[in-house]
């Protein structure tokens, strides 16, 4: 027997609110009163979920499902560390949403701010709008960012998308900012649109797939144009999630570059060839 928990935003707060208490893990099995009393932080004041949200709960089939209604751009850290269940944010989401996430599904119907899915370990995040900077990246000083799971973004993403990622998949249908996949350790990043400066700089391993030809650093060596078999699989995998990559689908050809030569050159950048 599962639960369906509705959190309805009363009014957008003027200052950001840190709400890492909002995860299916944490709300499961609690009654409305208990949920309302869970702590959130607004600036230096410890407050409660109930100060910002109406809480309604009903029994349902399936896993725990938490639905937030309202523009939550001022709410940081929602879904941080969640490990199961479903968390749906009907509007925008603030910083660090889904950071350190370990499992389950997190859906954002609006835009997501910076550090979406930072250090994520598992599960799936989908964003209907745009995402900010440092999607799936590593916090400063840490050498490994996202280490598993999947982040799917319908819109654009900012700078340093997937930087220092260790494992997992980030797919952005739109454009990405500078330093996409900076110091990528492994894993897969897809960007369908334009990308900013020096994608893949200092990458060690892993794959960056681009829909448009970028200007590459001279530490990326052109190899050949071909149809990688794994692309078909990736395409099918994401199509299975309702996320369709480039037109032309599975039959796409790519230019393959190896790099970054400064870090062993084991990584690859694949650039889609439209014809």
């Amino acid at each position: 027997m599962g639960e369906l928990i509705h959190l309805t935003l009363k009014a957008e707060p003027a200052l950001p609110v840190e709400a890492e208490s909002i995860t299916p893990d944490n709300l499961r099995g609690k009654n409305e009163e208990k949920i309302k009393n869970l702590p959130v932080w607004c600036g230096n004041a410890q407050e409660k979920i109930g100060d910002y949200f109406e809480v309604e709960k009903e029994q349902s089939a399936g896993e725990t499902r938490v639905v937030l209604t309202g523009e939550c751009a001022q709410f940081k850290r929602i879904g941080q560390g969640m490990s199961f269940g479903e968390l749906v944010i009907e509007g925008a989401a603030g910083f660090h949403t889904g950071a350190l996430m370990r499992g389950g599904s997190l859906q954002i119907k609006g835009d997501a701010a910076d550090w979406l899915g930072a250090h994520m370990e598992g599960g799936r995040i989908t964003v209907a709008g745009n995402a900010g900077h440092f999607v799936g990246a590593a916090y400063r000083g840490k050498t490994q960012g996202m280490s598993g799971g999947m982040i799917l973004i319908e819109g654009n993403a900012g700078q340093m998308t997937g930087s220092r990622m260790r494992r997992g998949l980030i797919a952005v249908k739109g454009n990405c900012g500078d330093a996409l996949g900076f110091k990528l350790l492994a894993g897969t990043i897809f960007a369908g649109g334009r990308t900013g400066r020096h994608p893949g700089a200092n990458m060690l391993r892993g794959t960056i797939i681009l829909g448009e030809q970028p200007e590459l650093l001279s530490s990326f060596y052109y190899n050949c144009t071909y149809q990688p078999v794994f692309w078909n699989m990736l395409y099918a995998e994401l199509a299975g999630c309702g996320f369709f990559l480039l037109p032309g689908g599975q039959d796409a050809s790519f230019k393959r570059y190896s790099g970054d030569a400064l870090n062993g050159g084991k990584g690859e950048i694949l650039v889609w060839q439209s014809t």
Binding site: D114, G132, H133, F134, G158, Q159, G177, D178
Partner: protein, 123 residues
């Protein structure tokens, strides 16, 4: 009256620093932070009036500057960091904390004579 597009770089100048220490309301400081340095060819192309005043516009705002020519690359303009340059800066830091202080796309246009007069009226 000429106009052109270019890249703005905000800088710190020793003259600005010295003037600043005399007071930020001093004429010297106020004039220095509104002084745009540009390449002599660009300078000529702008066909500036006697006061050498021009309007500088970025996506964030627009300001009046006083132009002076100096050796340097074409299409790149230099303006000391201060209250004038600040009007042209966007707050976006791309998550780094640092706004784009350098390399801002701008459009510069010489200020027409009548506008200069208006300016004088106001000041």
């Amino acid at each position: 009256m000429g106009s052109m597009e270019g890249i703005l770089i905000t800088v710190r100048t020793s003259k600005q620093g010295a003037a600043m220490e005399k007071g930020k309301f001093s004429e010297e400081y106020r004039r220095e932070i509104a002084s745009l340095t540009l390449n002599p060819d660009d300078f000529a192309r702008l066909q500036l009036g006697e006061e050498k005043r021009a309007l500088l516009k970025s996506s964030a705002g627009e300001v009046e500057v006083i132009c002076r020519a100096a050796e340097g690359p074409q299409g790149i303009f230099f303006l000391p960091l201060g209250a004038v340059a600040n009007e042209l800066l966007d707050e976006e830091t791309h998550g780094t904390g640092v706004p784009d202080f350098k390399g801002i796309p701008v459009r510069i246009a010489a200020i027409a004579q009548d506008k200069e007069e208006n300016y004088d009226d106001h000041s």
